[in-house]
Symmetry: C2
Subunit: 361 residues, 2 copies
Amino acid sequence: MSERAYNFSAGPAILPEPVLKQAQKDIWNIFDSGMGVLELSHRGPQFDRILAEAEADCREVGNIPDNYRVLFLQGGATLQTAMIPMSFLPAGETADYFDTGKWASDAIKEAKKFGTVHVAGTTKELKYKRLPTEAETKFSPDAAYCFFVSNNTIYGTQWHNLPKSRAPIVCDMSSDFFCRPHDFTKYAMVYASAQKNIGPSGQAIAVISDEFLANAPEGKLATMLDYKVMAAQESRPNTPNTFAIYLMGQCFKWIKNFGGLRAIEEYNKEKAKIVYDYLDNSKFFIPHAEKQDRSLMNITFKCAKPELDEVFIDQAENAGLKTIAGHRSIGGMRASIYNAFPIEGCRALVKFMKDFESKHG
Amino acid sequence: MSERAYNFSAGPAILPEPVLKQAQKDIWNIFDSGMGVLELSHRGPQFDRILAEAEADCREVGNIPDNYRVLFLQGGATLQTAMIPMSFLPAGETADYFDTGKWASDAIKEAKKFGTVHVAGTTKELKYKRLPTEAETKFSPDAAYCFFVSNNTIYGTQWHNLPKSRAPIVCDMSSDFFCRPHDFTKYAMVYASAQKNIGPSGQAIAVISDEFLANAPEGKLATMLDYKVMAAQESRPNTPNTFAIYLMGQCFKWIKNFGGLRAIEEYNKEKAKIVYDYLDNSKFFIPHAEKQDRSLMNITFKCAKPELDEVFIDQAENAGLKTIAGHRSIGGMRASIYNAFPIEGCRALVKFMKDFESKHG
């Protein structure tokens, strides 16, 4: 096999090669300081620079308004699913949640530990192959917030328009953050785990409006669960995950060099089209997600003959198309093609699919 | 300056050079998989191996009994200071805490959000320059647990014997975990952030006895705050911090290659002795910690003439002795010489101190 494979992992996922090469250097000695990036005091001048640049580049890439805080948080997306209701769902109020897949339904379970949840729409009975339509949606009258997961990795669906709630919108953007431009002014809060488009696992980023943040309680929560403390202390009341922040900063710089989110979006569309076009013209493979809601990030499909799925996955693995098995809950295949995934890998996948079809069709 | 400086950072701190060199390779392509360590699915065979080896090596190095769980947890040590009272301090009960410095007093503040705390001993009025004596200690009659911080980075003190509580002992071992052998059977729970002796920041390890773990509540806490969920799902109910676990695993292997914790202890004693011997014979420098409680990991001192501290720090920095400033709360100097810090650096520090003394003495 070649030195680097085409890695279709749904996350932790492939990272940009220039970022990896820079990290290889900086692990040994960053900024010619004689210290590696993992070894820097989180209060020293080198890390001050890393943190400041990461936030500035994030704001620039995302066109994030000044009245939004950018927070670097530990615990991944799962901790966010608890922190949000702990902070923003007071007793006596209700939050609207869309149930569009495993991560959404896990978020619902988590929120129910802390408050009242109303499910505004679900497509569970359809195996989440599409999103709820407006006709299928019912908001509660006065929700504290409306929560949705913008991209559902397991099923390969993605919201291409925001839900039309009048409540503050809270979005888990873990698997499509910075896959295209976002209008942050439409959200009260967005969060994302880093390990898809912008870094390593074990880290989340949150973008919160000052107005929404003001609703959080004061001084009651554990320090690490307190958005206000995190905002006031610029993501470091304790020692932050310095390496994750460094690596996210490198990914933001890579996106800038790529031409920004508009260019990334074009590239992601081009990549996805290569695979979807083939799928749409094949009777051998069956896509899981319905066309109108399908994801730019995760392409889910099966062989029409179910017994061939495992054969496909094994042979793909041997051909250097790695980690293409679908999530255990729905099986089949999943090609995750995040920002850093190269277009050549999409072409290689389609070529492999064609060959496989002609052999087994 | 030479390629790598002597880095006295209190944490994130210097890592073993063989670990950094291995990480440089594995970031690009690990196990010849064609994927970098940051890019591996946390459910794939490569990461299964990394996690299994990290735990096995940790158990072997630490001689951790089978009836103790080893958990890899996100959020650093600070989150532990909340999770412990949330899990193990039920309403109506009291926990004993020793106040031996900033991290201990922060843990007390955090615990008070969730339950009743009794301060069993404090040396706050002495600027924490030593630990409370037995005569100064008063335990509560029936504590849920007794909490202490085994090494106080800021002041340079370290417990060389356990507090004599009859309650289950819970220890924050963040800054001296694996600096020497530990008898885990004497503890109900030990936790440590990784960024001193065993890895990068943003990650903690916990070693908990099954008996103590059984006291934690069931199904009430947020998933990420639930030790029972973490234990049942082997530290990955969600995507763990895969890189931190990898790097901790590499540090455990490095300790094994070094000859284990007994050899590490000898090395750490030898390193500390070089600096303490000089300090004990100098009137120019004044050590902060009292002899009987001083730390193998963090050596704190000042110049007898306070105006020279800043000069010392600046000139040391220029001489490649980096990050030697004391914590802002007590000032002066702090030489953190964790496991990976080389003995040559201690010699270089003493040589620098001698030169400085002869110039300014």
